[in-house]
């Protein structure tokens, strides 16, 4: 026996084992005392085990059992040695640990002794269940570390899968904080929706809804008796639920918008052929999906599984192809808007509240695409205007400049949409009477007003329009001018003098765009489709104006 290593007693073995982490790792290791302990024990055990094996004292299969476990630990710890910046090395170690685990569970089945158990007597050892738990926990960590490594190696898809698996395991082995878990699942859903993986996204969100309900409610009966701590906790919980609601809103919005992209023609209207194609495609996929479901990573134990499924059933994960299906998704989204707004009220959470309102407006906008009746479409846009104007008037532009600009632009755009719809309706029904004309003109004026407000917001402290626009407002600003020009020329009036004034305004707008693009070539690049139209209009409109002038003279 090697005199340097004492015989395996109980405590003595533990205390005299060398445990020398390399310098510099001390910080990292100090964060994880459990790992440190394991490492120390491992070091001892390996030495002992090898010696014992040499002496033939141990059963063959026990040494296999524990050496594998220990190697698993070693690999996990390998990431610390490998250097926190050598990702490929870390990846190798961890993948090794992963395959070891898989091999072990397949070939051997029963959980191995947890490392420290080797030092304990029979009675003190863990129950099989507990042992199993700890063993699995180590593996969960391995998966979690792998997720990080893959992220650093820019292998996002793999990283996401490993995150998902980590979450699943946390539930399976009931080792989690419900609020934290729910938020993580909701965040992961957002990854899935950017990849158009709506089934997986829905699964994560539904699970989030179910798990957060496991978080304890207040213990005291009435709000008055609540302690400050309990109130804080309740507020926190409310906030987290509202955050999950916002993730749901994005789910519904993206599902509708992605569907629209597949269905629209080159002028943004429903393409009936594409609709047919999509219907057929979806039917085919439905059959495949049923099978795919089984291989997807499901969440939870048997109790939670049913609960999750019942939440999933409330909303589709399939692209809506027509108005009725779109409306179903819309309504789910709208419900979550209301839920989110309950917590994110304007008065304390301005930015969050406005983002929720903007999402609500976007829901209406995309629903309008699916709506065939123009009058009903108009009503949807009216709802948008009402909600956007309501928040806009509350904001102080000095502190919310950028948000105000967003709102101005969107409100103007919406008025424009409404105007176009009204014109189309009136023409179709042959009802271009004075009442409708007034309405149309009013809508055009409102759009012009908001586009102008946007342009005014770009002026400097001396109220002058900047010579050179910043890159992120360049195109929006020029587009404003372009649209204002168009709107002026669309105003309906029988008074030629007024018509002339309108045309004059129109020409000036187009000229502004042309002149600016001439001076700043990068603007020309950004305004490509619109610029040549402006150039044409700037030369054609004056001729039209001359004609009008003559008319005026004739009738005067």
């Amino acid at each position: 026996m090697d005199p340097a290593v004492p015989p395996p007693g109980r405590r003595t073995a533990l205390s005299s084992c060398p445990a020398v982490p390399p310098p510099g790792r001390r910080t990292a290791l100090s964060l994880c005392p459990a790992v440190l302990r394991l490492h120390r024990r491992w070091r001892c055990r390996v030495t002992e085990g090898e010696m014992a094996a040499r002496e033939g004292g141990l059963e063959q299969d026990l040494s296999v059992k524990y050496s594998q476990v220990l190697r698993l630990l070693e690999n996990q710890l390998g990431i610390l040695w490998a250097g926190l910046e050598e990702m490929e090395k870390a990846q190798t170690y961890l993948e090794d640990a992963e395959s070891l685990y898989n091999q072990y569970t397949k070939e051997i089945g029963t959980p191995p002794l947890d490392t420290h158990e080797h030092f304990l007597g029979e009675e003190e050892r863990l129950s099989e269940q507990e042992r199993h738990k700890r063993f699995e926990k180590v593996y969960t960590h391995t998966l979690y570390y792998l997720a990080q490594v893959y992220k650093h190696l820019d292998m996002n898809e793999k990283a996401a899968w490993y995150c998902h698996t980590t979450l699943q395991r946390q539930l399976q082995f009931t080792h989690y904080n419900p609020v934290e878990w729910a938020i993580n699942a909701a965040t992961l859903s957002q990854y899935y929706i950017t990849k158009q993986l709506y089934m997986e996204g829905r699964l994560c969100l539904a699970a989030a809804n179910v798990i957060i309900n496991q978080a304890g409610g207040t213990s005291s009966e009435s709000p008055a008796e609540e302690s400050e701590e309990e109130r804080d906790h309740r507020d926190q919980l409310q906030q987290k639920r509202a955050e999950i609601a916002r993730c749901w809103i994005k789910y519904c919005l993206n599902l509708l918008q992605d569907s629209r992209k597949l269905l629209e023609d080159d002028v943004g209207e429903m393409d009936w052929d594409r609709q047919e194609e999509l219907k057929i495609r979806l039917k085919k996929e439905e059959e495949e999906k049923e099978q795919g479901r089984k291989s997807a990573v499901m969440f939870g134990s048997s109790e939670t599984f049913d609960l999750i499924q019942s939440v999933e059933e409330k909303v589709s994960c399939v692209y809506p192809v027509d108005f009725s299906k779109a409306r179903d998704v819309f309504l789910v989204g709208q419900n979550y808007v209301q839920e989110a707004k309950e917590f994110f009220q304007l008065d304390d959470h301005v930015t969050d509240h406005i983002e929720v309102v903007q999402d609500h407006s976007a829901l209406f906008k995309v629903l309008a695409f699916f709506e065939e009746d123009q009058e009903r479409r108009c009503k949807m846009h009216k709802r948008r205007i009402d909600m956007l104007e309501a928040v806009y008037t509350e904001l102080n532009p000095q502190y919310y400049l950028l948000v105000c600009r967003q709102l101005q632009f969107e409100i103007a755009d919406t008025y424009y949409e409404m105007m176009e719809l009204k014109v189309s309706i009136a023409n179709r029904l042959d009802e271009l009477d004075s009442h409708n004309i007034k309405k149309i003109n009013h809508l055009a004026q409102s759009a012009i007003m908001y586009y102008t407000l946007f342009l005014d917001s770009l002026k400097n402290s001396e109220k002058k329009f900047p010579e050179r626009l910043e890159a992120d407002v360049l195109r929006p600003a020029l587009v404003c001018k372009f649209r204002i020009g168009w709107l002026y020329s669309k105003m309906i009036t029988s008074d030629p003098k007024l018509q002339l004034t309108n045309l004059q305004q129109s020409v000036e707008c187009y000229r502004f765009v042309v002149d600016y693009c001439e001076m700043q070539p990068e603007a020309a690049k950004v305004m490509e489709p619109e610029l040549e139209l402006c150039v044409e209009m700037a030369t054609l409109l004056p001729a039209r104006m001359e004609k009008l002038k003559a008319k005026i003279v004739a009738f005067s």
Partner: protein, 451 residues
């Protein structure tokens, strides 16, 4: 480089080009062919620069705008020993060596003392953000955590943050000292404290002026002086590797799973349920929009500080490029473009019709109308054609006159008076031309009516 650095045998690896605004840093361990990395900034200052130079050139305009009622922020970032404290604080007692902070205070109160028709009120607050918790450095109850809230009228604010009215430089200096003391107590109690907490000193300047309308107009400007965390770099991680990567640590605790997941999400069309950092939210309107921002980054020239200097330069460079989140969402409106094209086609068609016909009969038409005597039977011609011809003719005349006008103006040989006279003549001719145009229009109109 200082004595210690020279003694240690470090070499100078940083070069500054003040004119270009460029800083270059050379890797001391790199191969001879490895190019130095350059960073461009709005202004760079050498160690030989005076405090007042820096202040007057870079900071003074920002404080001026605060006095006008706008917000301004000065960020300071840098390792100890690189002169960050000297730049920001300097030596208060010696006027020549005062840093940005005492100079700003001096600037503000001097301006106030010189003002005649305005009333000023200056308040000071001092807070810090540590591990996403906000603490009031001027409050004896150090453990109270403050909430960040927003009001639509006034923007982001910190609830229950104490502020003190200060009437002169001494008073505001005192406030700052009190806060600094609170901060240093905390740093002795906790390791790496000052390297992880951001400190923000806020000077609010309220100006009230009696306007022409007899009403009191109030404008409020805020000056944020931010000492950024992370300036004290931890002892090197022991990695002797040449590549310097930030934040690639594997987090051992499962509680960081959320960070890993949110790093996977592309923020554009999604909601990530983790709050924006408190620092960003608090200074949001400084990082974009109308407010002015200055980032002061200090680095050491010696080779032994290569890694830290590089980090500082990169950090400062990133800050320059911060784009604020709210972007204008533009709906392309292809339908509009199509309508536009149709309208243009329509207008063009109209013009061509007129254009074609007018070419043929131009000469004779013109003659007739000018003489005003005969009216020929035009047949297919419409009144548009006459007008179009007239237009073209007048246009040509106008153009010629314009050209002559320009020629006159450009002609340097002409004496001023002569020039003026000639220009007046040209003006008169333009007038006549105009009258002619009106006359022809009337004629054309009469003609129309007659038809």
């Amino acid at each position: 480089m200082n004595g210690k650095e020279e003694a240690a045998g470090c070499e100078r690896i940083v070069e500054m080009d003040v004119n270009l605004g460029q800083v270059s840093i050379r890797n001391p361990k790199g191969s001879p062919t490895e190019l130095p990395k350059s960073f461009r900034f709005d202004a760079v200052y050498e160690s030989s620069c005076r405090q007042s130079e820096l202040y007057d050139e870079t900071v003074r305009p920002l404080v001026d705008s605060v006095l006008q009622g706008f917000n301004g922020t000065v960020f300071a970032y840098g390792q100890t020993g690189t002169g960050k404290t000297y730049t920001m604080q300097g030596v208060w007692a010696e006027p020549e060596k005062r840093g940005i902070i005492p100079n700003s205070f001096e600037h503000i109160f001097t301006h106030i003392s010189r003002s005649q028709d305005q009333q000023y009120l200056v308040r000071a607050s001092y807070l810090e953000i540590y591990q996403e918790e906000i603490r009031d450095l001027l409050n004896k109850d150090e453990n109270k955590k403050l909430e960040l809230k927003e009001k639509p009228e006034t923007g982001v604010y910190i609830k229950d943050l104490s502020s003190f009215v200060t009437k002169n430089v001494k008073e505001i200096e005192h406030v700052m000292n009190v806060g600094n003391q609170t901060r240093s107590v905390a740093s002795t109690n906790m390791n790496e404290y000052s390297s992880r907490s951001h400190a923000i000193f806020v000077v609010t300047v309220e100006c009230s002026e009696l306007g022409l309308d007899g009403e009191n107009h109030i404008r409020v400007g805020k000056l944020n002086l931010v000492d950024l965390a992370g300036s004290e770099r931890q002892s090197k991680t022991g990695v002797q590797g040449e590549r310097l990567k930030e934040a690639t640590k594997i987090n051992l605790s499962l509680s960081a799973l959320g960070n890993v997941i949110s790093a996977l999400v592309d923020g554009k069309s999604t909601h990530i349920p983790y709050r924006d950092s408190k620092l960003t939210r608090l200074l949001e309107d400084s990082l974009g929009g109308n407010a002015k921002t200055i980032m002061v980054a200090t680095i050491g020239p010696a080779s032994c500080n290569y890694e830290e200097s590089l980090i500082t330069l990169r950090y400062a460079n990133r800050t320059k490029n911060i784009k604020n989140k709210p972007r204008i969402n533009e709906d392309p409106k292809d339908a509009l473009l199509r309508e536009f094209q149709e309208e243009i086609a329509r207008l063009k068609a109209q013009l061509e019709r007129r254009g074609m016909l007018s070419k043929k009969r131009r000469k004779s038409q013109r003659k007739i109308i000018l003489e005003g005597e005969e009216i020929i039977d035009e047949g297919e011609e419409t009144e548009d054609n006459i007008e179009k011809d007239m237009e073209n003719y007048l246009k040509e005349q106008k153009e010629t006159l314009e050209k002559e006008k320009v020629a006159i103006q450009d002609d340097h040989n002409l004496v001023a008076e002569e020039k003026q006279k000639l220009l007046e003549e040209k003006e008169k001719m333009m007038e006549d031309l105009k009258k002619e145009q009106e006359a022809t229009e009337q004629l054309a109109a009469k003609f129309k009516v007659g038809q």
